[in-house]
Amino acid sequence: MIQLAPNERVIFVIRRHWFVYLRPILALVGLSVLPAAGWTALSLRGFAPPPELVPVIQLLLVLYVKGLLTYTFINWMTYYLDAWIITDQRLIDIEQVGLFHRRIAEIALERIQNVGLEIPGVIPTFLDFGNLKIQTAGEGEFTIHEVPHLIRAKEFILQYSRQAHRARAAKLPSPDGTQGL
């Protein structure tokens, strides 16, 4: 499990926009329709399998369905685990590239200096998704790709990073030795 600090609270979780997964979705729909279409085409040509071959066809069909199920589940898992978790202390970026390939990075909210956005093209403009570019103190720029509801996500991250800045400033001692605001 992803471990959070005892006083850490998850504010929201962002997952990639569904449009990114359109290609596997279309492939899945096409592959699902394929056996039915093939069977219909053969039936229209008057093909009927000999009775002793029916269990063979059924077995191959079940294995095919099983393959589709695995394909769907792996794609869903890649979607589900590829997430950005924004807590009241940090931003955790989990990039699930494949079944055994992932990158995890995190930034403390108080290190975020600016959040910019990029909407790269016509489809992202209409479907409201794009890239968030987060500038941090000391660690350079950090890009989160294909974020849905881009402007709202940017506002949220900025809002919580400002809160983190204020909380940090309040904890820092002032030059005269007293606690901050």
Binding site: V13, L53, V56, L59, V62, L63, L69, Y80, L81, I94
Partner: protein, 85 residues
């Protein structure tokens, strides 16, 4: 020169290989869903179990169809002879 194989035996081997591969993938998926999620993401664990149950059901169906298959169906395949070097 050809060799004659029972189709049922061939498909039983295919089924065993598919089941072994699927078992490995299922374990990997369940491990990932446990390791890289937050405790509040219950959907992951529910769907992992649903996937496992569906997989078992499909393999049971495949086994049933395999058992229904007449053993006398045979496939003829050319015997692979590796020439001496």
């Amino acid at each position: 020169m050809t060799v004659s194989l029972s189709l049922r035996t061939v498909l039983a081997i295919v089924l065993a290989l598919a089941a072994a591969a699927d078992f490995a993938i299922s374990i990997a998926v369940i491990y990932h869903l446990h390791r890289y999620t937050l405790p509040t993401w219950r959907l992951a664990n529910i769907l992992a179990l649903a996937y496992l149950a569906l997989s078992l059901a499909l393999f049971a169906a495949a086994l049933l169809f395999l058992l229904r298959m007449p053993p006398e169906i045979r496939i003829e395949t050319p015997l692979l002879v590796i020439p001496p070097l």
